[in-house]
């Protein structure tokens, strides 16, 4: 006997992400999943972003790391609520892990949430956590070829922040070809050049616009 299934296995893998999304939407929280290599500058981007966004939003962070709470300590030092998820060896966050972080932050009535994924350019791309947008962080010192070498991740993000641009003169990273490689995997997505002292305002403006558009769309839905 033959049984026809046509069962999408990814959909099942992402079931927990879908349920997180409902959880976030019902509480009016807009979430960004930040992905990139270890050392790309994901936490540093957050350290620059949070003091800006903190003025307009109740913002919180979920930090994913294989071990330690070093990143959470850096965020906590800014006075921003943060939950550290230690994956104990697992190379990415999944929906189930993130759910426990969401529940721990529930009482804070957040409006904006950043989820910093485990540093890795491969696995995190495959796991939907419930986020509304994905930001890839790639540093100039890693080399511009990473975009085409890790196509799945760069194909599945909504924006790219290129960090450590103050080191551009010392690397062979080419902003133009990086932007065109990135556009090759999906056009119309912003690319931000960020250094320690410059460029973060662009990322902050993107988050602000995206999250407010979302809130406006929700309101329109309710009025319908």
């Amino acid at each position: 006997m033959h049984v026809d299934m046509h069962q999408d296995v990814w959909a099942l893998n992402n079931k927990e992400g879908d349920s997180n999304r409902e959880w976030l939407d019902s509480r009016g929280i807009w979430a960004v999943n930040i992905m990139g290599s270890p050392g790309a500058g994901k936490t540093t981007v957050l350290e620059q972003l949070l003091p800006i966004l903190h003025r307009d939003f109740r913002v919180g962070v979920i930090e994913g790391d294989v071990a330690t709470s070093k990143d959470a300590q850096r965020i906590s030092a800014l006075g921003i609520p943060v939950i550290q998820l230690e994956t104990q060896g697992v190379c990415h966050l999944d929906g189930r892990m993130v759910r426990s972080g969401l529940e721990a932050l529930e009482s804070l009535r957040l409006e904006l949430l950043f989820i910093e994924n485990v540093g890795n350019l491969v696995c995190p791309a495959d796991f939907f956590l419930g986020e509304h947008a994905r930001l890839a962080v790639l540093s100039t010192v890693e080399g511009g070829d990473k975009i085409v070498k890790y196509p799945t991740l760069f194909r599945r993000v909504s924006a790219l922040a290129v960090t450590k641009t103050d080191l551009l003169p010392f690397t062979d990273f080419d902003m133009e070809s990086a932007a065109s490689d990135f556009a090759g995997f999906g056009s119309g997505r912003p690319v931000f050049a960020v250094s320690k002292s410059d460029g973060i305002a662009g990322v902050a403006a993107w988050v602000r616009t995206m999250s407010r558009n979302r809130a406006r769309a929700d309101m329109a839905d309710e009025q319908r």
């Binding site: 006997m1 033959h2 049984v3 026809d4 299934m5 046509h6 069962q7 999408d8 296995v9 990814w10 099942l12 893998n13 491969v122 696995c123 791309a125 495959d126 196509p151 799945t152 194909r155 556009a183 090759g184 995997f185 999906g186 056009s187 119309g188």
Partner: protein, 120 residues
């Protein structure tokens, strides 16, 4: 990258389905995997063989068939539809494209042997 986990999910899903259909043994499984999916057929086969002993309902001769699905683009500018492994249209170089297929991971179906009437 996560072939072992994916394969474990596949076997769980099929186990549940074959119980619901009163099938004692499963003799063939067919998957459909997009070439942009990231799951490698060889690694899936390896995971299948490694997990086999945990699932006595799998016939010792059960084969795993993996159908590859090529990546296909649709260009919103020139209406090209066809193969493409980046998101740039190979005809007009436009970036306004969408992926029609190539990222899927599906269980298409399986073959099973019914419980004998009155048996087990």
């Amino acid at each position: 990258m996560h072939e072992a986990g994916l394969m474990a999910s596949v076997l769980e899903i099929i186990d549940e389905s074959r119980r619901g259909n009163n099938l004692r043994r499963v003799s063939a499984i067919t998957l459909q995997v997009g070439e942009l999916n990231g799951a490698l057929p060889d690694a899936l086969q390896f995971a299948f063989d490694a997990l086999r002993p945990e699932h006595p309902w799998l016939d010792p001769a059960c084969v795993l068939e993996i159908e590859a699905v090529e990546a296909r683009l649709q260009c919103l500018d020139c209406r090209y539809q066809g193969p493409g492994d980046s998101m740039i249209c190979p005809v007009c170089q436009s970036g306004l494209t969408r992926l029609v297929q190539g990222e899927e991971f599906e269980i298409l179906g399986y073959d099973g042997e019914p419980d004998e009437a009155g048996g087990y």
